[in-house]
Symmetry: C2
Subunit: 489 residues, 2 copies
């Protein structure tokens, strides 16, 4: 059997192998663009369906806006263009032709008057529509979400975590008051945090970004930050309070009840296929992918162990009943009776795919009216009475879901360190890694110097940070709360 | 009240007004790209969820492939590049910069070595992956579907029917035998036809395209053709048997059980947001959109008629019970108690939005324990006993669904005319329009001449066409079956 890389040997290589072995995704020939394979896409579909329901419950409607953004739109919001101009795919022509030498070339006669940008995010194209959709206070709030592909030209890419094209959702809302917009941005941060913890089993710190790390065009960026098994931080979702920046750039005003015209207030918020990268890195182990039951495309794999056709038939009959019981309980289950593969191969395969529960049943189990139930997270097995086994499995799936979150929480607690000096900061960062909780003087200057010297960034100012008199670890200037530093993906 | 265009006055203007009044979509500032508004997108979501379940039931898995296709890939299949090179968006650069004069310009230093095409369809990029996914007969059949946006640079666009960017699904499958691939192409045509008839209430003719109308790169194109209310044909979906064309272009071979290497056989098939255009044009009337209940985002709108707050409260209490009963039965229902709008305004609004059933309830209805139920399709109203009203509504929705399909079928029957001569053909086409069933000699030459002279094309050779000795209406040469001609969208 092939020998696979361990996390302790080469974390980055381990990550790629987990993805490859589970069949989640692969690089394409197009620089930085990945192919999301069926098993990986099934995880994304599960995430989408939960998130989409949560967006609808909170009053949002889906819509779809153009893939292309006229170049001039980008320029309308100064910070925004600054943030995205340097990494965008530009469409300049709309036709190919065959040259005299028989080659396929871009037709120079089909040059666009104004170049089009493949959307890196859709604020500008959406606010250009909002201008026509919003006239009066009656049109507010306007709460739209879009599921789409976006493109940011990345020089260094990594499957799921950073790709040139990725899939995401982007919420865009307009409100009559500042307070309502801020409430919306905070609400959606909570929707993300709840989803990520409850479904992905990935604990997050909710916080706000420093000015330097804010979204291009936002007045405030809220974020959730998770800790990966190598101690690095992953920004898992962001929610932006955009103030009146886009309303002013696109001249979007509403008439209030007295007929007075006012600019509207805005938010935008998004999560992407990057979440799958976080999911992989939070739970997987040296044997491959580990998936939380609530998002696993296959929750239970049942493998028959047999020598004769009669044995297989007897097992199949018994399993059919269990399978239909589990399906009735909403469990996704596979009975793998493929005759071309041996049980050992199947065990390894479902392990690599992170299937939470594996059931094996052979002739002796038939006789004893039992089956062997193995859980992926702890890699423990138990022989279980057949009667009541479906209830056992449902409970076990719950337990696995809880265990994954608790394990990740414990790991994060162990790897979050408060420090009191820059010396200590550097020592902890070097030797232990993880999140570092420290006082900071609130200036971008200090933030940048720490980043240059240590590669650690301020991941966020946690929303639950306590007021506490202290001194900045770098400048010694007074500080009132601790912020969270880490190296990040 | 505004006066709207009737179908009989200006069909095309009527179509645009129906879309605008219902809030389905609008043109964007980006040439040929539309914005799909929430109500229009909700219809697409309903279509997607039904189709997606049907694809999964028939053994397909979703996946996602890159938006961009290297220019050289397009050239690999000769017919394919011929079909798509003339209408594609070309990405040539990956960065913008600010010029010395302060303008945002394309950075000439960021020119791509090889241009990228925004996918007009994904055969080439997908077959480049299939090459790595297929080694042995064990890997077959491979049955993949993708939900995606695609771009074809159209010069004359029309909301939903023909747009530069559109949303669609594209199935791509690989098989070990020709027979199995043909079976797959036919199966998916049937999936489309069943969906379109059962859910959209839009009857279709299943057939095959002539060589001239085939998909670029296909050996055979199957299609479903529907008749719009102006008598024109709409191609509603296509399913292609691709032979070994893409397998050869991308060198995709599998080892059979004896270890012999063979090229695989392929299909692809797709439907798009164009279906929404067909849906609109099949059922809507001079008062606006008419939606079949099975795809309507709102199936029932309940409108209270009241003068006092006490009346509204009494109505609301009663309606709450009905609403929860309907929701339990899986019906999507809205109770519109917006105090800013009068009932008459609401009636017109839900009519324009094509909501199948409207319930109005006022103080007198309360007294009599009744309500007024109006159906959108026939515009008839009935006063109904409150007890049992939810069952009444469920049955009514069924009846509306059936009625829409039957009406469309009847319309198509009335407007399908068999002709025996070219004179008759031209006369029917001119005076009556619709589908014309006629003998054709099987040559592209005749087909092209008829198209040039009359603008009618062969929509398809119906799968159920009877063998029948006849003479081509144009050339007089012998023919064995009738084909279907029409002007088309
Ligand atoms: Zn944060
Ligand atoms: Zn046809």
């Amino acid at each position: 059997m092939a020998k696979y890389t361990k996390r302790s040997e080469d974390y980055s290589k381990w990550y790629n192998e987990v993805i490859e072995r589970a069949g989640l995704a692969e690089h394409s020939d197009v620089r930085g663009c990945m192919v999301i394979k069926p098993y990986g896409y099934a995880i994304w579909e599960n995430m989408k369906s939960v998130l989409d329901a949560k967006f609808k419950e909170t009053g949002h409607s889906n819509a779809y806006f153009p893939l292309f953004i006229p170049k001039s739109y980008l320029s309308k919001e100064a910070q925004h263009v600054e943030g995205f101009a340097k990494e965008c795919a530009v469409v300049t022509h709309y036709r190919l032709k065959t040259s005299e030498s028989g080659e396929l070339i871009v037709d120079p006669d089909a040059k666009l008057e104004e170049e089009l940008i493949v959307r890196p995010t859709s604020e500008t194209i959406i606010w250009n529509s909002f201008k026509n959709w919003i006239q009066s206070y009656r049109d507010l709030p306007l709460k739209i979400n879009q599921w789409a592909n976006v493109v940011r030209w990345e020089m260094r890419t990594r499957l799921f975590l950073r790709t040139t094209e990725f899939l995401w959702q982007e919420g865009h809302t307009a409100h009559s008051t500042k307070e309502e917009a801020i409430e919306e941005a905070e609400q959606m941060l909570n929707v993300y945090a709840d989803f990520v913890e409850e479904y992905m089993g990935m604990p997050v710190v909710k916080g706000i970004k420093t000015a330097a790390e804010r979204f291009a065009g936002a007045d405030e960026t809220y974020c959730i930050e998770a800790m990966m098994q190598d101690g690095k931080a992953l920004q898992a979702g962001t929610s932006h309070f955009l103030g009146q920046n886009f309303a002013k750039a696109f001249d979007v005003k509403y008439a209030d009840k007295e007929g007075k015209l006012e600019h509207v207030w805005a938010t935008s918020w998004g999560v992407s296929t990057r979440l799958i990268g976080g999911l992989i890195m939070t739970h997987s182990d040296d044997e491959g992918l580990v998936l939380p039951p609530k998002l696993a495309p296959i929750q239970v794999a049942i493998i028959p162990i047999y020598k004769t056709a009669e044995q297989l038939e007897a097992i199949s009959e018994k399993v059919a009943v269990l399978k239909s019981e589990l399906i009735k309980k909403g469990i996704s289950v596979t009975f793998d009776d493929d005759d071309n593969r041996r049980p050992g191969w199947k065990f390894a395969e479902y392990e690599a795919k992170g299937v939470p529960v594996r059931v094996a049943i052979g002739p002796r189990d038939l006789e004893n009216n039992k089956a062997e139930v193995a859980r992926r997270d702890t890699k423990t097995k138990e022989v279980v009475e057949w009667d009541g086994i479906s209830t056992y499995i449902v409970d076990l799936l719950d337990e696995i879901q809880d265990n994954l979150l608790n394990k990740a929480k414990e790991f994060r607690t162990e790897n979050t360190t408060p420090v009191e000096s820059y010396e200590e900061f550097k020592k902890v960062l070097e030797e232990k890694g993880g999140f570092i909780s420290a006082h900071w003087d609130g200036t971008s200057e200090t933030e940048n110097k720490i980043k240059e010297e240590t590669k650690a960034t301020i991941r966020c100012i946690p929303l639950d940070a306590k007021e506490e008199a202290g001194k900045c670890i770098y400048s010694g200037n007074p500080s009132t709360k601790r912020v969270l530093f880490a190296k990040a993906y």
